[in-house]
Symmetry: C2
Subunit: 339 residues, 2 copies
């Protein structure tokens, strides 16, 4: 199974309004509610790709209860093993074929906290599709709750084929938290991908994660450079074994111990980029667990991410578009000069 960690889970609300006008009153015409936080989004895509996934992190209060109820609704109806036994991924068939498509269970192994899980609100202008985002900070997590998470995480690592550490830190969690989780994964021999930003990313990289997946802003904040190749190589020198830089509509740049590749979608596509990065993480991790080559992992990540932009629902991916895009992602290998 694949483990995803979301320390600051969220109940994601989307509100449709004709147009957001500051200081006016708006009647919300459409709304939706879904379990969120980056690791939960990654798990949803992994499940759709047929990978058993266990999610941990924190959830609490009334919004935590709603989040867990919605999360339970994501899984196919079958008994799940919360411990996450050492089961192999289904039908690992390396190559450019899409991953197996029967949805796999997402198991809730969240740690209950006393505080209230945050809400995030995406206010979408119906005319233009532009989104205004309001994010609550999240619950104050206590030292005991953090200790409970560490215990749960160690147990889950024992059955994990890979782990993704995703998103922002809630109040109360020390800035080196991800570094601690990276070290545990490396000690347990479980490949670990870190997807966060700012100081938690800077600290986490120093603990030598297998992969990071920063976007251009996160890379610039980390390295001071907006030149993709320079910034990506710099990020590797800081400790990450592999750096997969997301270049938005231009695809991805992967600087890894095995080589340097650039992967690009066949064309720029219109749509909502929300969740595209999480789909890319799911593509990279599922490809790693299935033993795909780097070019095939990148094809999958770029196709999933592009199919997420194309989907009418923010954060979901359009499966038909994904399957159509997969063989059309362009891969270019760079000279290994700076490995």
């Amino acid at each position: 199974m694949i483990l995803t960690v979301t320390l600051n889970t969220a109940l994601d609300l989307t509100y449709g309004v004709p147009e957001l006008v500051p200081h006016a009153s708006h009647r919300v015409s459409e709304m939706s509610e879904r379990p969120g936080g980056k690791g939960l989004n990654v798990a949803r895509v992994l499940s759709a790709l047929g990978h058993r996934t266990v999610v941990t992190g924190f959830a609490g209060g009334a919004t935590g209860a709603v989040l867990r109820e919605l999360l339970a609704g994501l899984s196919p109806q079958e008994p799940a093993d919360p411990g996450g036994g050492p089961d192999a991924p289904q039908a690992p068939e390396p190559g450019t074929a899409p991953a197996p498509t029967a949805p796999a269970p997402v198991t809730d192994a969240l740690v209950t906290v006393a505080g209230n899980t945050r809400r995030t609100i995406a206010v979408v202008d119906r005319a233009t599709g532009d989104t205004t985002q309001l994010n609550e900070p999240g619950p104050l997590v206590t030292a005991d709750e953090w200790a409970a998470l560490l215990g749960r995480y160690e147990e889950l690592l024992a059955g994990a084929d890979a782990v993704a550490l995703c998103g922002s830190l809630p109040p109360g969690i020390h800035v080196g938290a991800y570094a601690e989780l990276v070290r545990s994964a490396r000690t347990a021999g479980v490949p670990v991908l870190l997807d966060t930003s700012g100081e938690p990313l800077r600290r986490g990289i120093a603990a030598r994660p297998d992969l990071i997946k920063p976007n251009a802003d996160e890379l610039a904040q980390l390295t001071g450079s907006r030149e993709p190749m320079r910034a990506t190589r710099d990020a590797r020198r800081r400790g990450a074994h592999g750096v997969i830089a997301s270049l938005g509509p231009d695809g991805m740049l992967a600087v890894t111990p095995d080589g340097i590749w650039q992967a690009a979608p066949p064309a720029r596509v219109p749509g909502n980029p929300t969740g595209a990065g999480d789909s890319a993480v799911a593509g990279l991790l599922s490809g790693l667990v299935e033993g795909l080559s780097w070019p095939d992992r990148l094809r999958r990540a770029v196709a999933l991410s592009t199919a997420t932009v194309l989907s009418p629902t923010a954060g979901d991916f359009d499966r038909a578009a994904y399957e159509e895009l997969l063989p059309r992602v362009g891969i270019e290998e760079h000279a290994p000069a700076a490995r």
Copy 2:
């Protein structure tokens, strides 16, 4: 006891942000959650004035559960009688003295519905205090749920000294709903105040409520006139026995079977008008139940409403300001020409 009806209750969230910028992402720096919907706000003020209050209307789903938990927290810890026996209001001492100040219980007699109670979100720009409002529409109420509310309402009327019908209608409730509730109250001999807007107000007035409390916009929508005296008299001719028009910072104009009065606060005050109208309703109803004269009811309504604008927390009133303002509200009686 005083009964308040809130068909579209709400969990009111307030988010503080430095400045709301459309299409940007915002981290909410402060947030609060409280039970809302106009009738619940009225009940909170009545409780603070020492009047036992029973709230009915609809609540459901996860947000309904949070709302009811917060509502339970409003009451002093003592056993309450949900049926609302024919108890007299505490220490009715007519005059300009403030109402009794020991808080009285607010009893939850809400009808549970299958749908999810709505949230409202007030996004407050911390620099300017300007508020952007986002209101969910509310749950779809079924015919059976409406029938259950009617049954509950009839039972509660038997023990009520007065009733306030407050706010918007949730989806599924017919536009003549308030007219139906006004007729039941009149049949039961319980004085009824209607505080709503648009078509539900227009229909409700035709059922001859004792009082309505429109603001200038609601009056203009109802009567086509923005001239307060003309619009208020027109509203009375449509069926309301008494019309208390809220003139915002200028106070109130009361056109009643007993006379016409204008009441004004001693000065304009800065602050947040959210909830000022609900405080005015609480002032009018408590004064009615205590047998106060019209001038004293109006003094109380204007002082409460002004003390609500002055309060740092939206919807609460500043008690010291209220007590200081009460004897300073100016009352002017008009010639009874157009009664």
